[in-house]
């Protein structure tokens, strides 16, 4: 029994290292300073830490702007996904209505398709509407990716809140709206926040649609992809690190809800 436990623990440690070491190494690469760039063989433990490379990278024309646009797009995507997803999820959870299944099938269908690819034909229409190469345009496309997820997760969030709580609120003087505001939303709040953060992460990480729908006003991912072929490795690593840091932080914030969310969203 103890040997088996030992083997399990060893496996756990190895797998943790498997996740963490590569992140540590790209960080070491990006933060190692000028000396590290040309160094070979590379020291496995960096001899010095400096933000020089990162600072130089951020000073490059367009990088700071890309970072800002990424943020803008992700926030818009988050707002849209929650604003559209919560009511729809509530309706799916609380009402049985004709056509509910059509909507469900539509949501599930988005799962069978690589939705990002659908950005391809949108360029023409977006140019016509003035949405091409704007944060709003990219955010709309990203919302198409994040919204099905937001709908499914919020539907299950609301389903987990007993209908009787809402009925009690109605009986004790609430309108439908005030019951939703005073009773349902406070109880669903942690899950809603987690859903919002996930929408942010989905958008922050998206590469294809962001690249296709923009030319000059690129998100960080689109920018990095565009300069892959002709920028020094160190800057690429600095960019990679910038991509990773917020995501890791957000995953930490939503870690309690991860399982509920993905367990539900993938039923």
């Amino acid at each position: 029994m103890t040997t088996r436990r030992g083997i399990y623990l060893l496996g756990v440690v190895v797998l943790c290292a498997w996740v963490l070491v590569p992140i540590w190494l790209i960080a070491a690469n990006a933060l190692g300073g000028q000396a590290l760039i040309a160094a070979w063989p590379k020291p496995l433990v960096p001899t010095q830490m400096s933000l020089d490379t990162l600072r130089v990278f951020l000073a490059i024309e367009g990088v700071g702007r890309a970072l800002w646009i990424s943020f803008e797009v992700a926030v818009l995507c988050m707002v849209f996904s929650v604003a559209l997803g919560l009511p729809a999820g509530y309706a799916l959870a609380r009402y049985s209505f004709r056509g509910a299944n059509v909507f469900r099938v539509m949501i599930l269908l988005t799962r069978a398709f690589p939705v990002g690819i659908l950005a391809l034909p949108l360029t023409v229409g977006f140019i016509r509407l003035g949405l091409y190469d704007t944060a709003l345009g990219v955010a709309l496309m990203h919302t198409a990716l994040a919204l099905p997820f937001a709908v499914l997760v919020s539907a299950s969030l609301f389903q987990a809140i007993p209908r009787e709580l809402e009925e009690a609120a109605w009986v004790f003087g609430c309108t439908r709206l005030s019951a939703a505001w005073r009773v349902v939303l406070p109880l669903a709040a942690p899950g809603v926040v987690a859903t919002a953060i996930f929408a942010f992460v989905i958008s922050w990480n998206e590469v294809f649609a962001a690249s296709v729908l923009s030319a000059r006003n690129r998100t960080l991912t689109a920018y990095l992809l565009a300069v892959l072929a002709d920028s020094p490795l160190t800057y690429q690593f600095a960019g990679g690190l910038l991509l990773i840091v917020p995501s890791v932080g957000f995953i930490f914030l939503v870690r309690r809800h991860l399982f509920a969310m993905w367990g539900i969203a993938s039923r």
Partner: protein, 332 residues
């Protein structure tokens, strides 16, 4: 305080009829229990009165006012839910004050009512706690306190004790009766537990298949069931129904049967003996029909014995075998 009139309420879910044109009048300050098995429509009726469900036809009047088309909040009633529905994100005091706050009551009135109902239901020490920090029985009290705090014209209770364990349920039942008597609120109480209905109600309405089978005092329901269903649903063990002459059934309660000397009554072959302490319960056959007999106290009787039974004549309830309805009792 107000009387209630249910006027021809029916409810259909698609093709299934949950309630069939039901009439019921509840007097001011009266406590009426809706009793019936699951699926009889009792909860649906309660929810229609609350405004949580819309009736297919009919009207609901509370205190003479037609509330049929009003949302729940405008009906002036309060409700205790089966799973309590105590708001988990609010402290006990905020739960109790919820209805009054929604009605924009004055601060002083809210404070007074919260203090009064908390006192009444022994919740004063727990006012600052969250429901998750309370036991099931305490949460139940919060639900009742929240309902009483608004001083409703009508109090609706949907199986409020069914989630409590057996011992606690007995305690709460007595306590509830005491509290509600003091409050004097008109109450409609849904339950599937006949002892609960008998213990609490002024009148019981027995529902079956979306209809009211009988409405009357607990004693009338128990001793003079209007239908075979009522006789077999109310009482544990249920009433015996034995085939008699001319398409009649003889209804007799197990405790209304006496043992008599050999040859002086119906021969009864005992198959099972259950000594329950206060009673000894016998199951056996008479003339090929299963009969249950409840004898007071403890008796030493062996399974397989043959005894002789005599129903008390004044307790016999004659029924029409075909319709299941009680016959004019003069025939007995």
């Amino acid at each position: 305080m107000a009387g209630i009139v249910i006027d021809g309420i029916s409810k259909a879910f698609g093709n299934t009829v949950a309630l069939a044109a039901l009439d019921l009048a509840v007097a001011d300050r009266e406590f009426v229990a809706l009793l019936g098995p699951s699926g009889c429509g009792k909860t649906t009726l309660l929810r229609i009165i609350a405004g949580l469900e819309t009736a297919t036809t009919g009207r609901v009047l509370i205190g003479g006012r037609d509330v049929t088309n009003l949302p729940p909040r405008a009906r002036g009633l309060a409700m205790v839910f089966q799973n309590y529905a105590v708001f988990p994100h609010l402290r006990v005091c905020d739960n109790i004050a919820f209805g009054l706050k929604m009605a924009r009551a004055e601060r002083t009135r809210i404070d007074r009512q919260v203090a009064r109902t908390a006192e009444l239901l022994q919740l004063a020490p727990y006012l600052d706690r969250y429901p998750a920090q309370l036991s099931g029985g305490q949460r139940q009290r919060v639900a009742v306190a929240r309902a009483l705090a608004v001083e409703p014209a009508l109090l609706l209770m949907d199986e409020p004790l069914s989630n409590l364990d057996a011992l606690l349920r007995l305690d709460m039942r007595a306590e509830l009766k005491d509290v509600l008597r003091e409050a004097g609120t008109t109450t409609i109480y849904v339950t599937h537990d006949q002892t609960e209905a008998m213990a609490l109600a002024d009148r019981i309405a027995v529902l079956h298949g979306g209809r009211i089978e009988q409405i009357g005092s607990p004693s009338a329901i128990y001793h003079s069931p209007a239908t075979r269903f009522v006789g077999s649903f109310v009482g544990s063990p249920p009433m015996n129904f034995l085939r008699a002459d001319a398409g009649r059934l003889m209804g007799i309660r197990p405790e209304d049967i006496d043992l008599v000397d050999a040859g002086a009554g119906l021969p009864f072959r005992v198959s099972v003996v259950e000594p329950l302490g206060a009673q000894t319960l016998l199951t056996g056959t008479t003339d090929g029909q299963v009969v249950r007999v409840a004898l007071p106290g403890e008796h030493v009787i062996a399974a397989g014995a043959t005894l002789f039974l005599r129903p008390r004549p004044d307790r016999i309830r004659w029924m029409d075998a075909a319709t299941g309805n009680a016959l004019a009792q003069a025939a007995g």
